[in-house]
């Protein structure tokens, strides 16, 4: 019975995600797979925002109040959904799947079954999953039972490690247990394999549009089969969610660059904002996405087409949305009264920062080990990336690869910079986090490689560029 309630909770989140997506959706842009993947992330975002509103107004979160909120969301988007249904959809391409996508779907199904078994075999036990994210969710659960408001809950987060970190994941975990009707250390872990699937869905959906089913499914399989990616989908840590939100926000920008549909940009801003609300690493992720938009609009010689007149407005709105998200999350973080472990009064003491120059070789070495040192675990992404860069330099293909490379370099630079200024013991800090934050970069690396090498796999890329 509890399982049915949990499935209902997840289903309702997905439906509300679809309702929100309907506002921006253009049938020709999202396939059913990438549409579902986006709807899931939007649904979890909606779940989290609705709960923040309820907690701020001291409204007790129950399945009934959540259903009422979903009803309001769905109802308010109903006219747009109905209008959308009447629109002629894009003429479906020949969708007869070949043998290769079917084999890959089968392999992915095996992988997914094992991930689900592993996820539910243990209660949440990873250090960060327990002490940081799980405990935050548990605090919210018991506080909500007592009818406490967000103002009363926020200071209690000091009981957790990194007490000031954002709440998207704890609120999603809390939501699942509210529907379960009891605190259960198992069921709420369901959201993590779903984020894994959603990330694959976005990755596959984007590539499928530009390279075809065969090539996209092969590349999605490469991403899905990475051992650390599958592991992190079972541990109950939100890195897979952050990787998803940032990647989805970025892919929507790439789609906007092609289609010039402002709706896509708004949707991307929402995903960027949700990445800020997922983890502290979401701050640079959202800023990077805004930087990509600015870069695209203001790099000389580009035909900016329909948005030419609104260039400044677009940049202003996107940046404002990201800044608003950052400000809101920052306000919440201040309300916890917990100072950040990394960015605090000790971080920018010039003398201490200057002393850290000795860290540079160590940080560099750890990054290269993370990217190239796990050959025995079949992590060849780093090598594929280097090969793709050289191939791209020789071929000089035109496409979004430059922007993807920009994001990868920016992210690596930001993370390396944080390790450089961190007041924590750098060895300890890197040991406990680098393998997780690498996951935030890997989908970009694989997307870059997939696009750069697509003409090597010419027999697989069966769809020419649509525009």
């Amino acid at each position: 019975m509890t399982l049915i309630k949990v499935l209902l909770a997840l289903y309702l989140a997905l439906v509300s995600g679809y309702s929100i997506l309907a506002i921006f959706r253009k049938r020709r842009i999202f396939s059913s797979i990438s549409g579902a993947a986006l709807a899931f992330g939007l649904g979890i975002g909606a779940v989290s925002v609705i709960q923040v509103m309820f907690l701020s107004l001291s409204i007790k979160i129950t399945p009934l109040t959540m259903i009422a909120a979903f009803f309001v969301v769905s109802l308010s988007t109903l006219p747009i959904t109905l209008k959308e249904r009447k629109l002629p959809g894009e003429k479906e391409r020949s969708r007869k799947p070949g043998i290769l996508p079917l084999i890959i779907a089968l392999l992915l199904a095996v992988q997914l079954v094992w991930i689900i078994i592993k996820t539910f075999n243990y209660p949440i036990i990873d250090d960060d999953g327990v002490w940081q994210w799980g405990l935050k969710a548990k605090i919210i659960y018991y506080s909500n039972e007592r009818g406490e408001s967000l103002k009363e809950i926020a200071p209690k987060m000091s009981l957790t490690s990194n007490g000031n970190h954002p709440l998207l994941i704890p609120l999603a975990e809390h939501y699942v247990n509210v529907f379960a009707g009891e605190w259960n250390d198992l069921y709420f872990k369901a959201i993590f394999p779903l984020f894994y699937l959603a990330l694959l869905g976005i990755f596959y959906g984007y590539l499928r549009r530009f390279t075809g089913v065969n090539y996209a499914s092969v590349c999605a399989f490469l991403l899905a089969s990475l051992p650390f990616m599958a592991k992190l989908a079972t541990w109950g840590v939100p890195d897979i969610a952050l990787a998803y939100y940032h990647f989805a926000g970025f892919v929507l920008i790439l789609l906007w660059m092609k289609d010039r549909d402002t709706g896509l940009l708004v949707l991307s801003a929402i995903f960027s904002a949700l990445s800020v609300w997922t983890k502290n690493e979401g701050y640079p992720s959202a800023v990077i996405n805004a930087a990509v938009v600015i870069l695209f609009l203001f790099t000389g010689g580009r035909d900016v087409g329909a948005v030419k007149m609104k260039k400044t407005a677009v940049v202003f709105l996107y940046t404002a949305a990201v800044m608003a998200a950052i400000l809101l999350v920052w306000c919440y973080q201040k309300s916890t009264g917990v100072s950040d472990l990394i960015v605090n009064g000790r971080t920018f003491i010039l003398e201490r920062v200057n002393e850290n120059t000795g860290r540079i070789p160590y940080i560099f070495n750890q990054f290269q080990k993370q990217m190239f040192g796990a050959v025995n675990k079949w992590d060849l992404v780093g090598y594929l990336f280097v090969f793709s860069i050289f191939y791209q330099l020789i071929k000089r293909q035109k496409g979004p690869e430059g922007y993807i490379l920009f994001v990868i370099i920016f992210k690596i630079a930001v993370y390396a910079g944080v390790y450089y200024i961190s007041p924590l013991d750098v060895k300890d800090h890197i040991d406990t986090s680098l393998y997780r934050i690498y996951l935030h970069i890997v989908p970009f690396i694989l997307l870059y490689s997939a696009l750069a090498l697509k003409d090597i796999a010419a027999g697989l890329t069966d769809i020419p560029h649509p525009r």
């Binding site: 043998i99 992988q111 243990y122 209660p123 548990k138 399989f221 027999g459 697989l460």
Partner: protein, 133 residues
């Protein structure tokens, strides 16, 4: 069926090699986890916690749960490794750990009896629960 163009044969070889090694890794992973999976699959969450904590610690935590009311705080004196302590604190929430509290919970350590505290549970003087009187 996708036509196997001559120039793309090595791509299929690459996919085949990648998939084989992925399959091997998955098999090794499944083999490694199989005993735990067999033991825990479909079991209630408390059985899984018992397995994670180990019998002794789980028994102690059950006693803490039974004797320390929710929303109270307790002092935890233990010889636990960091990750076990973190899990124990999480497991016991909404009971919270505090250096000064109305309950003292001792696990895995010798502890001298003081006056003014009532013993609620004592096993081999290494698992003790006391309440301030």
């Amino acid at each position: 069926m996708i036509p196997l163009k001559e120039k793309n044969i090595w791509i299929y070889v690459f996919i085949l090699v990648w998939a084989s090694i992925w399959g091997r890794n998955l098999f090794v992973d499944i083999k490694k986890d199989w005993p735990d999976t067999k033991k825990l699959f479909g079991r209630p969450v408390e059985d899984k916690w018992e397995y994670v904590f180990g019998g002794d610690l789980y028994l102690f935590l059950q006693n803490v749960k039974k004797n320390v009311p929710e929303d109270s705080s307790f002092t935890l004196i233990d010889g636990l490794e960091h990750f076990k302590r973190v899990r124990a604190e999480y497991y016991l929430y909404p009971r919270t750990v505090s250096p000064v509290a109305g309950y003292i919970c001792v696990y895995g350590r010798e502890y001298t009896v003081e006056e003014g505290w009532k013993t609620l549970y004592n096993r081999d003087r290494k698992m003790i629960l006391r309440k301030m009187t």
